[in-house]
Symmetry: C2
């Protein structure tokens, strides 16, 4: 990998710190003007980014460009795509893996950046195409001879959030005869509520776990298998698996079909692998899944451009760093003006916060600056009637990334009071961007808006499989590029381990007490045992 220096050792860092003492005041007369609005646009892969409402001028953008260049962010992104061991911490025990989720969609331009991984992706895609063709042609049916109508996806985290967000986003493109349901939570009420109304005889179950050892997923698979057996059905004829090669789940005898993902694909980057492929292919058809890959690939290529003014992912990454490290904002709100994207932010919470919620450099030293922000948000216009009060008039500045589309998905729209709903939607989108930037003076202090609340508009023509893929990759690439600038490892997740360890110890107490009424965990685990006793969780 090229370069890999702490961000605060780069010359541009100090220059940006100086500039941040007097950031552009968007509320100053004429600061936000039509020429600026027209100039500050970045295009790529079907999207336009409008960033006139960020607190940057050309000087700041030039220094951000230098920061990107000095960190070698784009070179590292290229190296990542070509198979570098990007997932590692120097001199420490770490995962030491390649990071090749981009290879899963590197199918549309020759030669691919990493031919071996792309060949593996093609192999899985071919097997998926065969499976889906068998379903479509009726060569493969449910044991009762009927078609499969439903698929229950059992997975959590990366095996749930991304595929679920994309499935919900593309309901307008769903096959009317096929539906997906989701079980993620180990909460037994999740599985109970999902399974109860289904006709299991026509249902597939897709069990997704890269490691093949995820507690929640194995538990829910077991609950689902029991439900099938109770209904007199053979799970072997209904259950699919998506898992890592050689994982404990990689056992074709237990599944109708098994598909692979590879150790160079992180869970939170796996939507374009078989993790998303099996269920999206089932619901949307193979062609739509390939369209998703096509859009994602176009955005990957766009992310290779060194000039941030012409690279949407790099621009988004560096504007984010400006707001996070130089203007001191702890959070970023991602607000899609599209009801179909109502779970996209939940996916981004994992993609971003699990990647960049880190405190050590790739050399194992403590970072001397903030890394990943807290990502949150809901669909607009709904959010306007919820938390926008704080964004406009609260004491904490929240940078916003707005997402919108020029056309709606269904085309079922009507004029009410002289305008269409889609017009009302995008008018609100633009109005919020402006209002946050320029604010409002007023004699009544309660009607004052301070303005200077930075935001970007991210627009495309219509939310389709292709633009969905591009949007997904835009954020994946933003996150990776930010990690490269911050000099952190965006591809591991050691922070989830301690909770797992302590949970296992607590579970031993539950099992211990069931086997032996005299069991007492106080000596081995004084804090956990005290918590169990005090909360009344043992004595149910």
């Amino acid at each position: 990998m090229p370069d890999r220096l702490p961000m605060d050792t780069l010359p541009a860092f100090a220059a940006l710190n100086d500039l941040a003492r007097r950031p552009l005041d968007l509320t100053a007369p004429g600061a936000l003007n039509p020429a600026r609005i027209k100039a500050m646009v970045c295009q790529g892969a079907g999207f336009t980014l409008h960033y006139a409402a960020q607190r940057v001028d050309d000087t700041v953008l030039d220094r951000l460009q230098e920061l990107a260049d000095q960190s070698g962010a784009v070179d590292q992104f290229l190296a990542m795509q070509q198979g570098a061991i990007a997932n590692r911490i120097d001199g420490q025990e770490s995962e030491n893996r390649q990071v090749l989720h981009t290879a899963t969609r590197d199918l549309f331009t020759e030669p691919p950046r990493e031919p071996k991984a792309t060949a593996q992706a093609r192999g899985e895609l071919d097997r998926l195409a065969t499976f889906l063709a068998d379903l479509d042609s009726g060569r493969l049916t449910a044991p009762n001879g009927e078609t499969f109508t439903d698929l229950v996806n059992i997975g959590i985290g990366g095996s749930d959030l991304g595929p679920r967000a994309v499935y919900l986003a593309l309901q307008a493109f769903r096959r009317p005869d096929r539906q997906i349901h989701f079980i993620a939570n180990v909460d037994p009420d999740d599985a109970a509520a999902v399974l109860a109304p289904l006709d299991l005889s026509r249902t597939l179950v897709n069990v997704v776990s890269k490691s093949g050892s995820t507690l929640e997923t194995l538990t829910n698979e077991e609950l689902a298998r029991t439900a099938f057996l109770s209904a007199g059905l053979d799970p072997r004829q209904h259950f699919l698996a998506v898992t890592g090669e050689h994982s404990p789940m990689d056992n074709p005898d237990h599944y109708l079909r098994a598909f692979h993902m590879f150790d160079y694909i992180g869970g939170r980057y796996s939507t374009t692998s078989m993790v998303g492929g099996v269920m999206l292919g089932f619901a949307l058809g193979m062609e739509s899944f390939l369209d998703i890959l096509k859009g994602a690939h176009a955005m990957d290529r766009a992310a290779e451009t060194r000039a941030l003014r012409h690279n949407p992912a790099l621009l988004l990454a560096l504007l984010g760093i400006w707001n996070r490290n130089f203007l001191d904002c702890d959070t970023v709100a991602i607000l899609p003006y599209s009801q179909a994207l109502h779970r996209f932010t939940a996916h981004l919470q994992q993609c971003d916060m699990e990647s960049n919620g880190k405190s050590i450099t790739r050399q194992g030293a403590a970072v001397g600056y903030h890394t990943g922000p807290i990502v949150w948000g809901e669909a607009g216009t709904n959010g306007q009637h919820a938390f926008y009060q704080l964004i406009h008039q609260g004491t904490t500045t929240v940078p916003v990334e707005f997402i919108g589309f020029r056309q709606c998905q269904y085309g079922r729209d009507r004029q009410v009071q002289a305008t269409f709903s889609q017009e009302k939607l995008v008018a609100n989108l633009l109005a919020q961007s402006l209002a946050l930037a320029i604010g409002q003076a007023h004699a009544n202090p309660n009607k004052r808006f301070p303005g200077n609340r930075p935001n970007t508009l991210i627009l495309a023509d219509r939310l389709t499989p292709e633009s969905m893929g591009a949007l997904l990759a835009l954020y994946e690439n933003k996150v990776a590029l930010q990690g490269f600038v911050w000099n952190i490892n965006s591809f591991d997740q050691e922070g989830v381990q301690l909770g797992k360890l302590l949970a296992t110890r607590l579970l031993d107490h539950f099992a211990g007490q069931r086997n032996d009424p005299a069991y007492n965990g106080q000596a081995s685990d004084p804090l956990g045992w005290a918590l169990l006793e005090t909360t009344g969780l043992l004595a149910k």
Copy 2:
């Protein structure tokens, strides 16, 4: 209203600032110990709060108690319930209203705190009971003689989030023959996706808007009326209204039934009024809705206690202020370990951030300290596989409020690998609380957890209508009590106005251009017009 001084003028404020220089270190040997875990418990209305993992000791708690006392927070809460004009800014044009959402459930102890409002609530409840009884008995049917099976709720913000969160939380208690659907967003795809699969002939539509003039709601009502007319159905026999007295929607001729809410109930506090009542009563039955009110009322009474160690809402409020104002945390994550509560945090985003995302005091001066935090979160254990990485190892401290239950809702649980799913769920809940507090030392810097990440466990036996009501009121009261301490008006929402104003101007351009191809908005609105041109939204 009693007292009403800026928080930083109260003597306890300076004392707390001093204490915050060296907050309790939960990672110090023995700091978090079994005795502390057993002592730091607060009970009320069926809930226990376990707060040993907060960075407070008895001294801090005593000073927080003084801060509460000096601000007169509980006295103001009592005055609010008794009808004080709590929604006002002194000396400025403001709403000048009473704040009486607690009166909607003050039905279970005599005398009520504000008899007139409670009498109005009883009047509406009686009318609701009659309506539901007519449905149950078959006296009232769909025009085709069949029962009504579905209800589409059209509302946004407070007319959507709270009732929706509660409905989803109580699916286990839903009547199997009745379902609710939601249209909130002005995005035309929202209404299109919701209406398409319904049998409108057996569907009620509940239109909810306190003002009777909410853009999204009126637009979606119009889309829904058109759909009914296209299906040959008379909206007058299907549409219900919940609105303020004398609002533009308050027209019985347009609706099968109309129910009232009153100007002393804010949208975000309206779940226990008819806003929640009509749809929850339809789906869960009248008795369950009354159970919700009963739980909420119990928590209201518990919130009148002056001792914060014995008042869950006050304790939660003051611990929040400690983390927000003295330990400088911008956000709070609310993480329910219950899949049924998966939309509860979205409701709290409005309840909290629209209430307390304010920058001026009730005297119209700029506040000299932070007010409401950013509220965010998703259900556990799902979140553990998403954003917990950042909470454990990121550079920003995120205080957490965990919510959990000792038993599951459905009782459909199974042992897998020696433990039940519910045990796995609560073991993870306790493990996360511990892990965040105590952290972990390690030779590998990537496996270090800094700890000292404050959190509270909020527990009840089971998620039922009654405990749901208590939980709802716990947070409503927390938010109000925090607002009293911060000396802000938690009951208005001026911050939503500017966006509405600018959106209206943009909508005029859409309509203008449609009526006159030569229309040009550049002169009247240079920024809005430039944005419309640059984004390509005009030339669709």
